[in-house]
Symmetry: D2
Amino acid sequence: MTDRNSTPLKLEPFVPHLFEEDKFHDECGVFGICNHPESTALTVLGLHALQHRGQEAAGVVSCDKKQFHSHKSLGHVADNFNSQPVIESLPGDSTIGHVRYSTAGGAGMRNIQPMFADLSGGGFAVAHNGNLTNARLLRQLLVSKGSIFQSTSDSEVIIHLVATSTYQKLKDRFIDALRRIEGGFAIVALSDKSLIGARDPLGIRPLVLGKLSDNSYIFASETCALDIIGAEYIRDVEPGELITINDDGIHSMKPFPPQKPRPCIFEHVYFSRPDSLTQGKSIYKVRKNIGIELAKECKIKADLVVPVPDSGTPAAIGYAQETGIPFELGIIRNHYVGRTFIEPSDQIRHLGVKLKHNANRGELEGKIVILVDDSIVRGTTSIKIVDMVRQAGAKEVHMRIASPPTTDPCYYGVDTPEKDKLLASRMSIEEMTKYIGADSLEFISIDGLYRAVCDADRDSDSPQYCDACFTGEYPTTLTDKEQDTAPTQISFLNVIGPKS
Amino acid sequence: MTDRNSTPLKLEPFVPHLFEEDKFHDECGVFGICNHPESTALTVLGLHALQHRGQEAAGVVSCDKKQFHSHKSLGHVADNFNSQPVIESLPGDSTIGHVRYSTAGGAGMRNIQPMFADLSGGGFAVAHNGNLTNARLLRQLLVSKGSIFQSTSDSEVIIHLVATSTYQKLKDRFIDALRRIEGGFAIVALSDKSLIGARDPLGIRPLVLGKLSDNSYIFASETCALDIIGAEYIRDVEPGELITINDDGIHSMKPFPPQKPRPCIFEHVYFSRPDSLTQGKSIYKVRKNIGIELAKECKIKADLVVPVPDSGTPAAIGYAQETGIPFELGIIRNHYVGRTFIEPSDQIRHLGVKLKHNANRGELEGKIVILVDDSIVRGTTSIKIVDMVRQAGAKEVHMRIASPPTTDPCYYGVDTPEKDKLLASRMSIEEMTKYIGADSLEFISIDGLYRAVCDADRDSDSPQYCDACFTGEYPTTLTDKEQDTAPTQISFLNVIGPKS
Amino acid sequence: MTDRNSTPLKLEPFVPHLFEEDKFHDECGVFGICNHPESTALTVLGLHALQHRGQEAAGVVSCDKKQFHSHKSLGHVADNFNSQPVIESLPGDSTIGHVRYSTAGGAGMRNIQPMFADLSGGGFAVAHNGNLTNARLLRQLLVSKGSIFQSTSDSEVIIHLVATSTYQKLKDRFIDALRRIEGGFAIVALSDKSLIGARDPLGIRPLVLGKLSDNSYIFASETCALDIIGAEYIRDVEPGELITINDDGIHSMKPFPPQKPRPCIFEHVYFSRPDSLTQGKSIYKVRKNIGIELAKECKIKADLVVPVPDSGTPAAIGYAQETGIPFELGIIRNHYVGRTFIEPSDQIRHLGVKLKHNANRGELEGKIVILVDDSIVRGTTSIKIVDMVRQAGAKEVHMRIASPPTTDPCYYGVDTPEKDKLLASRMSIEEMTKYIGADSLEFISIDGLYRAVCDADRDSDSPQYCDACFTGEYPTTLTDKEQDTAPTQISFLNVIGPKS
Amino acid sequence: MTDRNSTPLKLEPFVPHLFEEDKFHDECGVFGICNHPESTALTVLGLHALQHRGQEAAGVVSCDKKQFHSHKSLGHVADNFNSQPVIESLPGDSTIGHVRYSTAGGAGMRNIQPMFADLSGGGFAVAHNGNLTNARLLRQLLVSKGSIFQSTSDSEVIIHLVATSTYQKLKDRFIDALRRIEGGFAIVALSDKSLIGARDPLGIRPLVLGKLSDNSYIFASETCALDIIGAEYIRDVEPGELITINDDGIHSMKPFPPQKPRPCIFEHVYFSRPDSLTQGKSIYKVRKNIGIELAKECKIKADLVVPVPDSGTPAAIGYAQETGIPFELGIIRNHYVGRTFIEPSDQIRHLGVKLKHNANRGELEGKIVILVDDSIVRGTTSIKIVDMVRQAGAKEVHMRIASPPTTDPCYYGVDTPEKDKLLASRMSIEEMTKYIGADSLEFISIDGLYRAVCDADRDSDSPQYCDACFTGEYPTTLTDKEQDTAPTQISFLNVIGPKS
């Protein structure tokens, strides 16, 4: 038996903000494909390529003539969909899928998309990336007329709007629903006759169109999901565009009043994979451009440019190329970092545990170091990184950030802290410099970011983006934000099956 | 490594009808309790006592002021609800629960009750034992008006009827819903203000009322669920009665036109636990009475009365007491029988595998044996039992059945084979005798069964029962049975979470 | 979200002695079969029939020419061995298996038998029912010479004795090992050439020999394991006998000095299944005889004889037949009782939770009841049963026990409490009567038990049994009992595999 | 129900060599710490930092005064040891741990280290990185004298040698054991009195010494395991050195005859983490040096230097700095690649699935590309990478490899293919170039590699390394390699526990 006289371990519960990445999190990725005999296997691959957009859960719905099939799971695509029985359980030639980042609360399982409903006109499934800014209001109206919600997901609002629409045809009912929602959304929908892709009027959330063979079209959040299956990238779905693919071919329409597009600029900064293209342009190249613009704006002499891996790497390469300062891997990332790790006791924590990154002491010792990171959200990671680099012997540590200060939360489907948790909303840059312990701290300007992205300053004539997280200028109304609605009434434990 | 020259095992997939119990299966048990600080723990105990009514899945919904909490699981109550974290996740002072026998198809998880909806008037949960004979028709009507179904369960029909009712008060909406359904049902429902129990106009499915303390009332399918928590049995909920318990106390009403009750007679034969009471009378005593009546009807000289364990035991005791022939455990049951066992290869099967029962050879050798069983459904178990007893050396084997021949399926919530799979619907008793290999086979008469249950022959003046499974006389209309509706359109894989 | 103002549930950790069966537990069952192409499937069936002898874990080792294969698992045989992949992973034509009741401590997995070793003469596997009374001493000797133990199991002592024996032939090494051990044991062993069964010199633990076909012989703890696969019961392995089956046929030898046999009498009282035969006699008939003798010894007038199910049932039938008092199922057992159930809070416990048994009130009310149980160990169940019967309205409750008072622990492989936890070792029968709350309490006499088992009083001429648990007269030396050895030095967590 | 007329999916079983990394795999990492109240939590962190050395399984043994505790698990450290209950189950102030790469066969669980034995002198645990080249011979000798092996692990040979040594003191017995083994090994051992670290006479496998506080010393395979807990790196354990830490302090001895060291050169090429130090030198810097030497040896004009991520990155940076050709991320790695992915059907495979890497088309199109990778083993990955880069539009693809051709397998604890599976052992460089489809292919010379590592050519005066995988010159005898021993005799299924 155990000797109970030894000093007891006191491991406190995990405090997430200390170990979690200090990043904005995109909430979703969507994928849909039609008219391919292996549509489900291809969807699983596509979702795997979009895994960086949401790691908490994934779902797939396939349609096999008039019959729909669904599988949803918490966890990664590769862990839960990557088996012959699962893929065989989802037969058909058209399939849509979804990956999501978690929301708060225990309702996880119920909120996994795609949402499906058996409507009077036939089955209908919807997968949605984005956030509706009037979802709560719509939900209240629907409930008062007898709609029963099974989740707290915005997508279910859309599907109830379709179910209760007074139009006859499914496509008309879907358009009727889209016209009633506001916010940012990229939607892929599946009926027994057609695959539909739609993007909000401002094009806040991304959606691209691809093609694999004759009539086998694909919708995906990013082009990397086309690449993984060897599909051809045709073009971005346009802001406000609705594309339908059915036996008659491919049809585009624009059911909304025209508006100047405002795609999310943060997709360029962090969300999208560097190998994806937006409007035909490589994200990697844009990020290198950001590094180049950043170097132009904030010149400083230094011995090394060191990226905060991995998201700061392209900007750091650009920065190094622009300045001629050597690019070095001064920080090494541990590839086996799990999502969570037990919080060490005080005694251990004071040792300075380096779970995720380690300094490459040999490169840093005695050097003036420029650290390049993509953004600062709460500042928690920056404190640790700067300290680690300094402990490794760096003479000076200068932090350069490849985006402007993030001062405002996003309401369009990105998981951001409340405004008062955002470091830049409560501190001046001088205070932030002190807070993270750097010798200097500079952010790229909003104009510099625009130049890197679209070769022009931010003004009304050049292309515009949704940059609300940097400027607080929200391009849509925020209906629910003013309301104070009672929370939803049921909590669900995750459902547990029997031994198999 | 393994030597692959050895004779390969060829174990075929399990063939259920060979090893499964040859019984009718009740589809559900319900339980509800209000105004008790440990309502969930008590519900879990109550469901455990009702486990014999459904072993495939269980669900619990509790209400903690205005907040509802739910947990559902495939498998047994003791395995899935019997833990502090689960019980703590279901706080409140009112709770309802449900156990169910599986239905065909993969939709298991979605169909687990209680069903919950967040209605405009507040949360509402429903647990239901029985079957609606017009569920499909109602479902089609609801879908055409925009209701979205998440399951194939009858209970969801009820909850959508409540959601879309044009009445204002929740209770009125619930009554409105009940008046539109037909079939057999015993329902326990929970809102944030009241616990409701209701029984169909004919009282086909059972429901009893109990009390634990001042204002803590209980509804349960059987009294054994009251006994397990030490609650007092007050009375049966009457056919067509709706009882509401709220802060004002307990209220009874009868929202249906009055009809002569027709409770299910098979509850006496097999479903209910022998220690439960129906209309104040012990099921064990009724079953012994059936044995006594059976002995009166079908006299034969024999050395032993042997029950087919365990369901034939009370009738066998009655039979033995009436005839004076010794009661002996001539068949021993293996208590560790799982639900399924791999099908042995032909070679092994021919050895006569005795997974579930074994003959007690010492008692049977050279004897004239009367075997008493409660019913014959497909006859599969009877063949094996008779053969086993004969192999053990019995001189003669006479089978006596404590119910009339089961010739017709049930449409009121009991899982029965199709009519053409019922042995008694396609064979004469003589043919059945030959089929099961007995020296003789006799069933109690329908009048004998009535005498055992209510001390009177089956005629219009004495109490009546639903005996459709023996007579084909269904006491309600069977609306859906005539229709030919398309099947529901989605299949769900069981949802699998990540490692915890 | 959950309202945290509600009365919190306080469910304390499970207190086992309140809910566990108040029984002695046999620690093991063994099975072995040779020369059959489906030896593993048949072993799994045989172990399933022996499941009542040990429910905590099971193990199987097969031999496929020179290659051995093993699978072990915590839990029931039907849950863990009943699948094609497991059976296919254990190829060969000879197989042995083992079921065990748990021991204290976390070393469960390591202690699962059969134990296997790759000796210089080839592979050797041993499954053992019983307990060595000099295991600790032998273990110390072996360790001092360099043997490394992987478990705390007695069986590993046997296998190390075989490994380090200086004899050449495996059979001689095995005999050498058996001669150095003392205590009760029934062993089945498997080499690549032969299947061996052996029983301790006194025959304390049981072992029978069966036959399925020409050269396919079987060893098993009880005949019910022969019945399940349709094998023929040849005879009991004799005390002190060692039987070897190899390509030359079947060979018997007696390697120990002859002694008067002393088989365990408690096998008749409780351990063995009622359908098993010992020395050709049915356990059911012996138990009925015990009931008859009990009735002769302790006459009392009563209305009903009620068994404490299920182990008291045969004796109750005998008692009822001898006295003519009606036999009734006055206590109903819940068939879905799991092994453990959360301990209810004080508030609920006071309600008198009836997880396992329920009174059949209709039969008991106003009656003088004779309760028949097989034994009283700590008395915990008896208190609850008597109280339950009384609460159900019984006028008088008279407890009759089908074995003498159990005053002493077993050292031969039966899991018994320490002497001071045995009710009969610290109370007179009068005190026990009061303690359990009965109106009277009587035990069968030791002579009465002998008469029921072997038709003669307990004296030196008639057959003798090990009755140490009733008499404290141990038939072997108890070498380890005097020693005070330090406990083993390692604790193992149960080993957890990756996601599959 | 599902319409079975649709085109069936035909997903073949996973073909590992297509998707697995084409790398040598190190088989183990070890860690040990003494005299710290949180030794187990620190060991878990240390093993996490060593996870790249073995991902299949991990084990930990702690010592709490005289009591030892063990936990082992298949899977990653962060998934299986990162919980309070596990850490609390391993109390003590001294702990050792081990991570391992899988071996073939199902014996996984049994082979997880550390191995523990309860010797006559007390408990003893051993964790071992490396491979003994005379393990089979020693095993046969031990078995013939009665030792029973529970695993197929070399480490168990060591522990049996200790157990059967005729020396008295544990340290002497351990030295006695080490003198009898040959091959490469780095061992951490734990008794109740001391922590021991030992390295083979040639220092083939690495081991470093660190310190956390006064008497709390650490052994680890690499310095990154010191960094993660903030420990100080003291020095490498020297080849042939044995260091003991006990209550008297730290003691070094050299129990072997002196030999010129031959540490594994492949640790510099691939195994070690770039942030680790060997002999005080950063692995990252050595790899950059290799890139520089490579650039000097094989000049070619090009537009871009592109690393094959992530292991080719440091050499590519060196290559780019030396040549002035821009370094670009032309290949993007998917960070969510699981270990395995279902093999796509032929139809899908032909699409060119890019599960793990994607080309960054924008950078590659029309360019002359130099790809830098660390090694080529079978060549499977290289074929795909070259093709992908070409498909993305590269004008020319020149592959440069930061190690000489790997022509021979390793026998010192590295998982390498058989010689005839190594591409370089069966093809000329010209053939390899054709095989992988590159425009040119060059490897660094063995002298170039030595210059990068130790600033001198490979000759007898400068430091020497074990470079057998490039040269076939094995620095030790390979006793077992000549023998033809029968394989071990038992296969174990992974052991499965009950539902928790």
